[in-house]
Each structure stands twice: as structure tokens, then as C-alpha cells.
Symmetry: C2
């Protein structure tokens, strides 16, 4: 068994979600100018896509109330996809004039989480997505069907694979060809990730799958490894590991883009992202948010950084 | 490919190293009484072994100057192996009357790290271990030949596999049958771990291998997964993730025992450790050391902990 070449993909795509999933978790509203500056810096790191903002109702997520402004003011780099998170039809109608390259539709696989987050159960949320998908098609916008709590729910615990498949098939029936599997509260383990992603690939040929991980229990990079072994080649991650978990205050958030790229680089899996550029953005982010980052590499430096051996004790 | 049953071992052994590798990294000297209390609590968690202390010179590591006292005062539980770290012959002579079940011999695979740590190069350190191994044999003590910097050196960077094999074979020539591979500064990635552990297993039949990981760059649990896939069944870990990295102040230390056991439990790999008992010890450790722990599960809770769905928004 050759771990590197037989089991792992040669390259993956990074979808940077810090500007949405990260900024919305900050206590303070981040000034629009800062958001734009960070997104523009991210555009120059080599990420495949950036989730710029969300068209959720500003009362629900005041941190992203400037969605239109941010989208209008960023400088779009050629080759980078700029997406917005779209929770419902009202949001989609707001999103149309913003001209994003893609919409990420978001709903929860478990009813209790769906009710808690969107005040409707999963089936209702799925029905609500039908006109959204139609509107995207009319406007030539690509959609990703994201599945929150697909790898575990804070209220219901383990989620049966058949439930995830049910939601995935409902998305597919609407014509969605790109799905996102989310470990919303950071409870997935590598075996679950491998089995879920392998299972979905097998049952849904022709569908592309991305993975959205949180590092709440330290397993995010192990889950990346398992996902790579299952053939997954699209990963969400957040610069500086921004993002939180409402059920575990003080816990780590999204998998950090630096930590992900650092591991991929060491393993010889290409991502197109320049790690030094990303670490520079992380330093900028740290300044702006004003608290330490949950990013191991930002804290400790790269594995390849060498230190000088102490001279005093040299023979 | 079935991730769980074909690729992974059914059970592993945990060697708790917090009392040595962790306590020695604390700024403050931990009172002997506290050490004994924590070790006794660890004895009741189900770990296979505990590295109790080190017989390094007290001037070099004042935090463990009470090695004899600690060893004499702990209550040894049946079935648990109690070991001490032995850096040289002088230490071994101190260790004999302590009556440990095992000695962990420690030397660095890279000359620059060996000189920095022990003021001698690797070959000199290996020659110095010969009388230590002989003394262990005379006293019926099991030895583990540990190899610091085997997966990367802070001064030299990447370490060629042939260099690790050279040191492993030197240990074997002395009659050592149990080796420890250490990622001393937390730079290993899963591919390197898989290839090194697989390579050593292939080249050294009959030798048992343990793995000592640091989580400095967030890859420890991913490295565990890779090691499991290489058939490794012995892991060092530290309660609360105690332990530091002198080259990355503020960075995470050893892989946390709670995080390791938590992931193994979720994956169905037995360790014999009761996670709740270990989390209780971690809480005690946190009190004693007086700073936050680098343990994701201690911070965030277990994946299986459920939360109550908010009633206000329920349909």
C-alpha cells in the first residue's frame, strides 16, 4: 500500500469560508472596509473559491448586514469563484443583483437543527429550496446544496446515513449537481467521514462532493485525511480557523486554511494555495479581530522552519 | 475498502506521558503530592502504561527533581506498567532502586539535536546506551529505545528514513526489542508517519513500535490515523495535552490523551481507557497547573454530548 500515490488525490480545491462562516461568528461587527481588504488579500492566495458573505436576514446575522456592499466592493480575481450563502428565496432574490458566481444553499439534515436555525423542518426547507434553484438556473448561477449537521447534530446526535442520502437525493431531484457535507458542530470522526463520503459517491454518481469541517474536537485534519482517501477533492476552510461553535464557547471553529494547506503541502497534495500568502492574511485577520487565532501553524510556524542549534553546547 | 475493519487495528495501548513530558514543561515546580495524586488518578483510567518521571539530572530538569519520591509514593495498580525516562548510565544507576517496570531510553536521531540536548552526537549517545541496556537486563527491567527527532529535527529539518533505520538497528543490535518513534517538535505529516512506521515494521520484523506525537501543527490525530493504517498499536499521549515545544512558545504540546481516546472510541478502536475518567483527571490537572489545557475535548466536550434544542423556535 502506497499511502501517497495510490490512495490520495494529487490535488484538491480550497473553498475559503472565513469571510462568511468566520466573520459571522465574531462578536464585533467587522467594518466593511476590513472585510473587503481581507477578501481581496485572500483572492491573491490561490484559493479556488471564496464564500464572500451571506444573504441571511440582517436581524439574524447582523455581522453580515453589509453583504451587498462587500460583494460590490471586492476586486474579483480571474479564476477565483465568488459565492454567497443563500438560506431561502428571500435571500436568493437579494442575491441575484449581487452577481455571485455561485450560491451555497444551506439547510439542516436534522429536523431539530433545521427548526432551531430556520424555524422549519428539513422537508419544508427542501421544498423552500426549489424556487431558489429555479431562480439560480434562470440567472445562470451555479448552486451547491449544503447539508448542515450531516455528520452529527447537537440535538439528535448521530445522523443515519440514509437520512443524509435522503436530503442529497432531494437536492439531486431539483437538479443540484454539487453537494456540500458539513460537520457543523465538529463531531465527525475519520471513519464516519470515510464511510459517509464513500457512500455518497457510490450512491450518487455524477455528483461532486465538498466537505466542510470544524476542528471543535481536534479531528479536522484526521477527517481531511479520511476524506482524501475517500476521493474527496473539495474542502471548505477558514483563514485563521475563524468561526465558532455556539454549543462549545471557546472551542475551535472551522478547520484553519493554513493548517489544511500546510498538511496538504507536506503530503504532496496540491491545493494551489501559497502557504506564506495565506499566513500573511492570517496575521492581518488576527489584527482585525483582536483575539488569538485557532490556527496551529499561525501559532507555531511551518514544519519546515528551521531553528539555529544552540552554539554554547556544541561540541 | 472498508476503513474500519480491514485497515485499522481493533485495539491499541495508551502510554500516558503527561507526568514526565508534561510536568517537565510546566514553569512552576509541581508539588510531589500533586504529582502522586494525578498519577494515582491516571492509574484508574485504564491506560496500559504511565511514564512516571525522568532520572535526568535535577539541574537539567528541576521540575522532576523529586523522581525517587514520586516513584516511591505512587500506588501501583495491577496491570499498569510504570516506567521512567532514562537518558544515560548515571540516570540508570539512579533508576535501579526505584523499581520501575520499564525504562524508556532517550536519544536523538539527529546529531545537532543530540548535541543540543545531551552534549554528544547520536553515535556517542548510542554507545552510552550499551551499559544502560546491560544494567536493565541484569535487573530484569524492560527497555524501550526511543528516538527523538525521528520524524523531523528543529535544526536539520527532514530526517532521512535511512538515518532512523540506522539508529533503530543500533538499538536492536543491543538487544532492544521495543522502539519508540518520536515527533519531538510536531512536524510530521500523515504520509511521513505512514511511510516511516510501515518502513520500520518491514525492515525490523519482531520489533514492537510505539509512536510519540506532538500536536504543534494540529496534525497529531491525522498522524494517529496514518499510524493505525500502518498497523501501529502503541501511542504515547499526555493528559490535558500537557507538554510544550521550546521552539514554539504558546504552541500545543503532546497529543492529548482525551482527544486520542475520544477519536479512537468514535472509530471503534479499543484503548481500554475510560474517557470520562480521563476527562476528570484532565480537570484536576487544569486546577493544578493553573492554565488552560490544549485539549479539544476537555474544552468542547465529547461528540456524543447532546444539547437541548431551543424551545422558543420549535414549531
Amino acid at each position: 500500500m502506497n499511502f501517497s500515490t495510490e490512495q490520495l488525490p494529487g490535488a484538491v480545491e480550497i473553498n475559503e469560508v472565513g469571510p462568511r462562516d468566520g466573520f459571522q461568528a465574531e462578536d464585533e461587527f467587522m467594518p466593511t472596509e476590513c472585510k473587503v481588504e481581507i477578501i481581496d488579500a485572500l483572492s491573491r492566495t490561490g484559493v479556488a473559491a471564496i464564500q464572500v458573505t451571506s444573504v441571511v436576514h440582517p436581524k439574524a446575522v447582523p455581522q453580515l448586514a453589509d453583504a451587498e456592499d462587500v460583494m460590490a466592493r471586492i476586486e474579483r480575481a480571474p479564476g477565483v469563484r465568488y459565492t454567497v450563502l443563500v438560506p431561502n428565496l428571500r435571500g436568493a432574490e437579494r442575491a441575484v443583483p449581487m452577481g455571485a458566481d455561485g450560491w451555497e444553499l444551506m439547510l439542516s439534515v436534522t429536523d431539530s437543527h433545521s427548526r432551531s436555525n430556520a424555524n422549519r423542518n428539513t422537508d419544508e426547507a427542501l421544498r423552500g429550496m426549489e424556487p431558489v434553484v429555479a431562480l439560480a438556473r434562470e440567472n445562470g448561477v451555479e448552486v451547491t446544496g449544503s447539508m448542515a449537521t450531516a455528520l452529527g447534530c447537537p440535538f439528535e446526535g448521530k445522523v443515519p446515513f440514509e437520512r443524509v442520502l435522503y436530503v442529497a437525493e432531494a437536492y439531486r431531484a431539483m437538479g443540484v449537481r454539487h453537494l456540500g457535507v458539513a460537520d457543523t458542530v465538529g463531531v465527525a470522526d475519520p471513519r464516519l467521514v470515510f464511510e459517509t463520503m464513500s457512500g455518497l459517491k457510490e450512491r450518487l454518481p455524477g455528483i461532486t462532493l465538498g466537505l466542510h469541517l470544524h476542528n471543535t474536537r481536534g479531528m479536522a485534519l484526521a477527517n481531511v485525511l479520511a476524506a482524501l482517501q475517500a476521493g474527496v477533492t473539495e474542502f471548505d476552510s477558514s483563514v485563521g480557523g475563524l468561526g465558532g461553535c455556539p454549543f462549545a464557547p471557546g472551542a475551535t471553529g472551522n478547520i484553519s486554511t493554513e493548517d489544511l494547506v500546510h498538511m496538504l503541502d507536506l503530503m504532496g497534495v496540491g491545493s494551489g494555495v501559497d502557504l506564506d500568502s495565506m499566513l500573511a492574511v492570517a496575521r492581518e485577520v488576527k489584527e482585525v479581530v483582536g483575539h488569538p487565532l485557532e490556527s496551529a501553524v499561525a501559532r507555531a510556524g511551518k514544519a519546515e522552519d528551521l531553528h539555529e542549534a544552540p552554539q554554547a553546547q556544541a561540541l
